[in-house]
Symmetry: C2
Subunit: 203 residues, 2 copies
Amino acid sequence: MGLRERKKLQTRRAIASAALRLFAERGYEETTIADITEAADVSPRTFFSYFPSKEDVVFAEIDERLAEVREGVARRPAGETPLESMRRIVFEMIDAIAAAHGEYGAIQIQLILERPSLQARALKRMHDLEQHIVERLTELSPDIGEIDAIVIAGALVGGMNAVIAHCRAQGYDPDATREAVDRALAIVEHGLGSVPALTRPVP
Amino acid sequence: MGLRERKKLQTRRAIASAALRLFAERGYEETTIADITEAADVSPRTFFSYFPSKEDVVFAEIDERLAEVREGVARRPAGETPLESMRRIVFEMIDAIAAAHGEYGAIQIQLILERPSLQARALKRMHDLEQHIVERLTELSPDIGEIDAIVIAGALVGGMNAVIAHCRAQGYDPDATREAVDRALAIVEHGLGSVPALTRPVP
DNA sequence: TGCAAAGTCGCAGTGAGTGTATATATTGGT
DNA sequence: ACCAATATATACACTCACTGCGACTTTGCA
């Protein structure tokens, strides 16, 4: 890797960590681009050649993990059923999240949970992942119906996202999360009809 | 309803329809708040006493329908199973969407689909609805587990949202949508394991 | 009619994000 | 080591969304 590329990465990290540190110290809205670039010792204009917006800097690390998950989606051992592939992908995602839980991980989650606009962007990322899964799914099983693939990806990502978001909001205990995800996969796999409470009429 | 309230509603509609018309004519980014307020014959400052942001004006009508859906969630006949309630709610949502498909409905969808930031906000709305369903679900069946309720709502909203978004993107034929939603509900209800293509290993 | 509340407006300001021209640093080739 | 091509950083000027505030107008009610 050349000097130019190394410096670029260095600057990117400097901006990102300065931003997250300031967000943690004085809040998201209270931190301006000028503050961030001053702390990172670059010009304000430079910020935008590394991140398209102030919000994107929060997702920098998360996006890296998400890219790894997408790679994992492509890597599929022979003989694996699509459902098993899905299971594997979800567990890879959990590991990816756990890996992101160092240093600024907690701050990112906190920011996302308390800022509606950041929450919206996080959901958008999940939606993009969902579309990626639809593509892989139709590639994996060409005979699957279009609607079926869309519903499956939607239900899966929707369900997984809901439990994981809940677990993260609760402090993110890895074991509890793993257990919750197991339960979630079971429900989605065997159907909502398999939950007794849902088929029992209420007075 | 007094004169004041009537005028307020009138102004609100004037701003909303002027905005949507301009968005359709010259594009979202190309339309400024000043353009909208000029067309609606109010001061630029007034815009923000009706809508918190430029993006929110796109969702004005949609939010009204969503509020109706939430009311429908609360209205639950005795003897209905939670699963039946869910089915009813989803079909009410489809009707609500169909009702919104007059005048500016198509423009709203087009804008949301092509602007990532609007798409993110739309997903946020679905997420809020999801949380509302979680609350109702735990109210409906107090013995249901917390994780279970979260997964069920997530999978349901995720799956439904995915099919409906797909159908709307395809032009929104009511019959086709109804059929697709039926299929989606069947998959979610009976589980992903009930889809043959998902349990068959690929070479 | 008169008064309080609500709504409207103009104005001045902040801060995100963009286009552009200029300066500086890095690279690969000689 | 030098040069030319290229990538990157910066300064400057700008647009536009959005906010706070004080003045003014309209409406609802006694």
